[in-house]
């Protein structure tokens, strides 16, 4: 049985030969440790920020994406994982940044005059948008951005699917391949305060902004589904440790109806939709399922998410993907801690299918390689079906 078959069975809530394993992304140093060299794998700042921006400025971003994809393919084959989800179409004419400091780049859109400043943090390998027109000016800038998006009809000709097609050729037979689509909420960006205030004080503008984004999202998603991707993942974070960033009422008003357009499109093509989110989303699980979400990834233990409880209440309707703790266990724990936690997660969530093992987020730069490898080894040792159930 290959990875594609295993994950398909998981989404059919049936047991495969063994528990399938996926990762949201595998960053360096784990990727470098596995391949024994520096890599362009994952989501870390040196890869996504420094290397990509250098390539954009040098006009070599095609080479960057080629190398990145090759590294990912080699990594996932080496680890014998079952699912991969980092293929996205890239803009044919991407914005080229201006390097304004050693570790800071400014992107400016000449069409709208809007700009974003990104910063790389060597200590944490983080790369984030730290300032922008939207942050500085708030809702008037959002109005300009929205008007610009509304005035332009999304066009597939503006997108390059070279590396998407390459991923399908190289991995599409054996791995369950994920496309990406989500409702892109301003609450995860540097201008979050303006977005969140806008939900209450400028709802019409927020609706227009989200609708304008969704047009492009649906266009790209359909193109990916036409190509035969096996599933779709959405990665916008909805919550903190305490709970959702905004109320379930606002989720019902702004997010779920739009997410349903994405899940409906997925289901028209017969593929599942997986929602990743950090934080405590217990109050949103019913809404997620009603919106057509088929799988839930992360299930952060440090945010009070209990995979055993979720399996009991929702396990027949939601494929669970998680949740070995990558905030502490995979960062500061021992091999024994990891083995124990991995085995427990498998024994409470895997019986009956409807489960894919992953960390509680990604394999981020703070994860120790040897601990992640211990997690995978444990999965091989105890993850063969049938699995003794610890959840009843």
């Amino acid at each position: 049985m290959n990875g594609k078959e295993r994950v398909k069975l998981a989404f059919a809530h049936q047991e495969a030969d063994r528990v399938p394993v996926m990762a949201l992304s595998i960053d360096n140093p784990t990727a470098a440790h596995v391949l024994g060299r520096s890599t362009l794998c994952g989501f870390g700042g040196r890869v996504r920020g420094v290397a990509q921006n250098q390539a954009l400025m040098a006009g070599t971003h095609h080479e960057y994406h080629q190398r990145k994809l090759s590294d990912e393919i080699e990594l996932y084959c080496a680890l014998d994982l079952d699912c991969w989800g980092e293929a996205n179409p890239i803009p044919c004419n991407p914005l080229v940044p201006e390097q304004v400091e050693e570790n800071a780049w400014r992107f400016s859109d000449p069409a709208t005059g809007l700009w974003q400043l990104y910063r790389f943090m060597p200590e944490s390998d983080a790369y984030d948008q730290v300032d922008s027109s939207l942050r500085q000016e708030g809702l008037p800038a959002l109005e300009r951005l929205t008007e610009s998006m509304e005035a332009n009809t999304p066009n597939l000709e503006d997108w390059d699917f070279t590396f998407v097609d390459m991923a399908l050729r190289e991995m599409g037979d054996d791995l369950f391949l994920l496309a990406y689509a989500d409702i892109d909420l301003g609450s995860t960006w540097d201008w979050a305060e303006h977005f969140l205030i806008g939900l209450i004080q400028a709802p019409d503008l927020i609706h227009r902004y989200l609708d304008a984004q969704l047009r492009t999202t649906l266009m790209l998603l359909e193109a990916m589904l036409e190509r035969g991707f096996d599933g779709v993942l959405g990665g916008t974070d909805w919550a903190s440790q305490k709970g959702p960033m905004f109320s379930p009422r606002h989720f019902n008003k702004f997010v779920f109806p739009r997410l349903k357009q994405i899940t409906d499109l997925c289901h028209r093509y017969g593929v599942p939709y997986i929602k990743h989110t950090d934080g405590n989303v217990n109050s949103l699980l019913d809404g997620m399922i009603a919106t057509g979400v088929d799988g839930f990834q992360a299930i952060e233990p440090v945010a009070g998410m209990d995979i055993a409880q979720i399996k009991r209440h929702y396990g027949d309707r939601l494929t669970l993907i998680g949740n070995v703790d990558c905030a502490h266990t995979l960062v500061n724990g021992t091999v024994e801690d990891v083995r124990k936690e991995t085995e427990n997660v498998i024994r409470v969530a895997a019986p009956g299918g409807g489960f894919v093992l992953s960390t509680s987020n990604s394999v981020h730069p703070g994860v120790k390689p040897e601990l992640y490898l211990a997690m995978l080894q444990t999965a091989r040792e105890v993850g063969t079906y049938p699995i003794q159930d610890r959840n009843h």
């Binding site: 910063r119 983080a126 205030i197 109050s283 945010a303 981020h364």
Partner: protein, 208 residues
């Protein structure tokens, strides 16, 4: 008193213009600045915090309430100074070295201000040396925020730096953020841990 009720209701509803009007009306009516602050504004923010902890208010509602409070504070601040009314304490807040996330830290700063504290916001990517400077400047409490597991060690480094500088006994330290736990706070010698902005304000009141 009608003006205080009006201030309270406007902050609760996040009505910035209404809060400014109501605060000005209270000032014009001759209400003492301290009373306006405590019974109108701080009381309202305490209720906002309670509603947040109960899960009735979320971040957007807190943000608009905090903005309304800030608008009122701008009017009342000079009068508080003239009256010799001191803030509840002075708190330095910052996201630790290597971390650029600020919404959690900003929300904490807003709720602390709403609870009557004077805030020194050190921003993001704050090295231990800057927290030491803040301690030397006389803050009562330092609030450390981190959103990444990879930047949490900067919290421990900051506390160790305070110890090395001989300042640890002069200042309390509270920590919070997505990967942070009470156990981690205890392990690194922090004085307290708060899981959200509202509980940070409650914790600060006990520490200062």
């Amino acid at each position: 008193m009608e003006q205080l009720t009006q201030i309270y209701d406007c902050i609760l509803e996040g009505d910035m213009a209404g809060t400014s009007e109501a605060v000005q009306a209270a000032i014009d009516a001759g209400l003492p600045a301290g009373q306006i602050m405590n019974e109108g504004m701080i009381a309202a923010m305490a209720e906002v915090g309670r509603l947040f902890e109960e899960g009735e208010y979320f971040v957007p509602e807190m943000l608009i309430a905090a903005r309304a409070m800030k608008a009122g504070l701008a009017l009342i601040q000079p009068l508080l100074v003239d009256s010799g009314i001191e803030p509840a304490g002075k708190i330095a807040v910052g996201t630790v070295k290597g971390d650029l996330h600020d919404i959690g830290k900003n929300l904490v700063a807003m709720t602390l201000e709403g609870a009557g504290f004077e805030i020194l916001d050190l921003g993001t990517d704050v090295p231990p040396e800057k927290f030491i400077e803040a301690a030397k400047s006389g803050v009562d409490l330092i609030g450390l925020s981190a959103l990444l597991a990879t930047t949490m060690p900067s919290m421990e480094a900051t506390i160790k730096a305070l110890v090395a500088a001989g300042l640890r006994d002069q200042v309390k330290v509270m920590i919070g953020g997505a990967p942070v736990t009470p156990e981690y706070a205890a392990r690194i010698g922090a004085d307290g841990y708060a899981p959200d902005a509202s509980q940070a304000a409650n914790l600060a009141k006990t520490l200062v």
